[in-house]
């Protein structure tokens, strides 16, 4: 047995990225042009001036003129993915890690429709990406031409905005506006669909460096001073307050201010899945994740609280459970950038509309210390012994549990790796057992729950930070959805490490079948290729781990290997994610971990040692 080092009590950097600015451009000061260019040249010239250095794409008929012009721009690196969905996810991974706009390129028709899953994912998780698609020639629009799809129509409900460009002289403005819209305010995806003739024809190109002005688009909001004052009073008056850290904390780089707020007020912090890295897990006031797979005592504390200060989150149903019984005793302060999220699902007593970091800057100087020891010790008593989240002392009974694998990965990487997870059981185990102490080190698909997200997103993350350690954690199901991107890593000579939590099932669906569908495992048993041989076939290196005692060695060897590696972790097949709020149930009506009877302990060492209630 090994003892795990504790990552230093991290006080996260106050700022992980630049605040979203009018344009992501960092002024590469290219030679200023004032000459006739083709639409294709205008496209690339504009991207360069928007600060783009890498994009993920796949060529095809309608976008070919653009690709043909690409060799003139060596400062633009194009990564050829193996499926356009991978391009969109890679753009997301790039955007999330870099804080800049990610770019995906595809052709018309099937190329464009293949992007849509990634676009929807970016919409639900507020990720700034710009998708550039080729379109059939403008004269053919609406004629059901070969590879014609009305992609601006298809993506209308899953984008912040869309552009259909039919003239070369409109390309620069459309791209500029797309970048501005994507990254400003609540970020999101923008589609720019450009007809083939617009790419082929020529127009005068003169870079317009002035900021984008859109009369109807006002992404910035500021709360009224009176409302800020009221928030301070509500925080002071609260006896049982709790802070929620959502994705907005991470995106706006508000971790430092949140730590300061907590230091001053002694209020505990629960996090959403996407907000997990917004507040260090090792902080004594960190409660960890709330909601469907949050710890039962955290959810119980939420139900008992008298004030919720929700920061940059949107009360997703995975967070609230049954809305009719959700946190009824709590007044709610909702700090949120998007006015349309306020009072959407949960009645809010005080909305503060604006950027989380900016609002905390205004709020933190005015809050004062209040003695919360009674409330904090009550939460501790709720915790009791019931949550055995710290599994480092668990005996090795010869079986391999996903929780062990993930906990060991945390221990061996000291929590410093960028972790990119897919969707399913492993994603929840990662959230529970990898302790997130550093902001923005977890990249996962939250709102859409897109299986197949992890591998291509890690590709994008790799281009955003060439030197950091990256681990993909994926299930055997999700990994098989986008595994073709392995070869993209090979072609690009890029390394990540891939941990496949392989239980031979679509595990989360199997778990629901076990709990809610009478144990009828329909269409969830799943075979996989030999992942070690698969790695070999790609010219990569694979390992297989079937015992806990082998984890350290495999991880060590994967890290030492210069190329991308796959570790096939053959974990317990019938393990489930505990605790769990069944969909639509009350937040505190959780399915708990099996009790610590010897038989259960024999089967699963990750049991609860305390009594429920």
């Amino acid at each position: 047995m090994t003892s795990s080092p504790t990552p230093s009590q991290n006080t996260a950097p106050a700022k992980i990225m630049d605040a979203p600015s009018a344009a992501s451009s960092t002024d590469p000061s290219p030679v200023e042009l004032n000459r006739v260019c083709t639409g294709s040249e205008i496209l690339w010239e504009t991207l360069i001036r928007e600060g783009v250095s890498v994009m993920f794409g796949y060529p095809g008929g309608a976008i070919m003129p653009a690709y043909d012009a690409l060799p003139k721009y060596p400062q633009l690196h194009h990564v050829l993915v193996r499926h356009e969905q991978g391009a969109a996810h890679a753009a997301e991974g790039y955007a999330r890690v870099s804080g800049k706009v990610g770019v995906a390129v595809a052709t018309s028709g099937p190329g464009a429709t293949n992007l849509t899953t990634g676009i929807a994912n970016a919409m639900l998780d507020s990720i700034p990406i710009v998708c550039i698609t080729g379109q059939v020639a403008s004269a053919l629009l609406g004629s059901d031409a070969f590879q014609e799809v009305d992609i601006t129509g298809v993506t209308l409900p899953i984008t912040k905005h869309t552009f259909l460009v039919t003239r070369p002289e409109d390309i620069m403005q459309a791209i500029k506006e797309a970048f501005y819209i994507a990254i400003s305010g609540r970020p999101g995806p923008v589609v720019v669909d450009i007809t083939k003739d617009a790419l082929q024809k020529s127009a005068n190109f003169k870079w317009d460096a002035s900021p984008v002005k859109l009369p109807g688009y006002r992404p910035e909001h500021r709360p009224l001073p009176a409302d800020l004052q009221r928030a301070v009073e509500m925080i002071h008056a609260a006896k049982k307050p709790i802070i929620f850290a959502g994705h907005g904390v991470v995106r706006s780089g508000a971790t430092g201010l949140l730590l300061e707020l907590v230091r001053k007020t002694d209020i505990p912090v629960a996090a959403t899945l996407l907000g997990l890295t917004g507040f260090p897990a090792s902080n004594p006031r960190a409660l960890g994740m709330m909601g469907m797979h949050g710890e039962a005592w955290v959810n119980k504390a939420i139900q008992e609280s008298d004030l919720i200060v929700a920061l940059g989150m949107r009360f997703d149903d995975r967070v609230t459970g049954n809305l009719k019984t959700y946190a009824l005793k709590a007044k709610k302060i909702h700090v949120e950038l998007d006015p349309a999220e306020v009072n959407k699902l949960v009645h809010v007593d005080l909305p503060l509309i604006g950027d989380v970091r900016e609002i905390l800057q205004l709020l933190v100087p005015h809050v004062e210390y209040r003695d919360r020891s009674e409330w904090l010790s009550h939460i501790d008593s709720l915790r009791g012994k019931s949550a055995v989240i710290d599994i480092k002392h668990m005996p090795d009974n010869g079986k391999l549990f996903a929780a062990h694998v993930i906990h060991d990965l945390w221990r061996l990487t000291e929590g410093k790796a960028i972790v990119v997870t897919d969707v399913g059981q492993h994603q929840m185990w990662e959230a529970q057992y990898y302790r997130h102490d550093f902001p923005n080190k977890l990249i996962t698909s939250g709102g859409l729950g897109t299986m197949g997200f992890a591998l291509p997103a890690a590709l994008g993350a790799r281009f955003a930070c060439p030197n950091e350690e990256i681990w993909v954690i994926a299930g055997d199901g999700g990994f098989q959805m986008t595994q073709a991107e392995l070869q993209t890593f090979v072609q690009e000579g890029k390394k990540v490490n891939i941990a496949i939590i392989n239980n031979g099932y679509l595990g989360m669906v199997r778990q629901w079948q076990e709990f809610f569908y009478g144990g009828r495992y329909v269409a969830t048993p799943m075979s996989s290729p030999d992942f070690v041989k698969l790695a070999d076939a790609h010219g990569l290196v694979g390992f297989r781990v079937t015992k806990r005692s082998e984890v350290d060695e495999a991880v060590r060897r994967a890290r030492e290997t210069p190329c991308t590696t796959i570790i096939d972790f053959r974990v317990e097949q019938m393990d489930s994610v505990y605790p769990m709020v069944p969909a639509g149930a009350d937040l505190d009506a959780m399915i708990r971990r099996p009790e610590a009877t010897p038989a259960v302990a024999e089967h699963n060492p990750i049991y609860e040692t305390g009594k429920d209630e």
Binding site: G216, R218, A340
Partner: protein, 181 residues
Amino acid sequence: MAALLRTLVAYVEDKPGVLNRVASLFRRRGYNIASLNVGRTHDTGVSRMTIVVEGDARVSHLMEANLYKLVNVLSVEDITETPAVVRDMALIKIAVLADRRAEVLQLIEVFHARVVDICPATLIAEITGSPDKIDAFVEVLKPYGICEMVQTGRIAMTRGVESDASRISNGQVSETVVTAA
């Protein structure tokens, strides 16, 4: 029971696809449109929509906030509680022969409607007014036999100084918008 109706006035950029964006938003969010009218205004490039939707004040606030998220929407105002002139126009073709024409013409006069077409067996009445007035007009005409009718959908304008006009003309819309109730 009729559902609660809210009336929203939205200024939008006069660009292709804007109506589609607005309609798609209402469809996607499950808001039921009772009436939607769109037309150009005296400002070049600016169209005005009058949208009547089912819902209460909370829903209306969300609709407003969601409309603001559309890049082409310049400003939105819920005028349900503001004194406003609300008008609808209808053309109604009535089956009426010469023997009862005088009766119908009298009704038309009472309602301040007007006749815009007379044929031997039909006439067309044009009426402008509040939706209630048009409903009442239709009721009294029904016994004569309505062949067909068409309505424009409601258009609305608040009384007195129109705040939105000044907000738009300088291109800088104030940030008073959309905090929730």
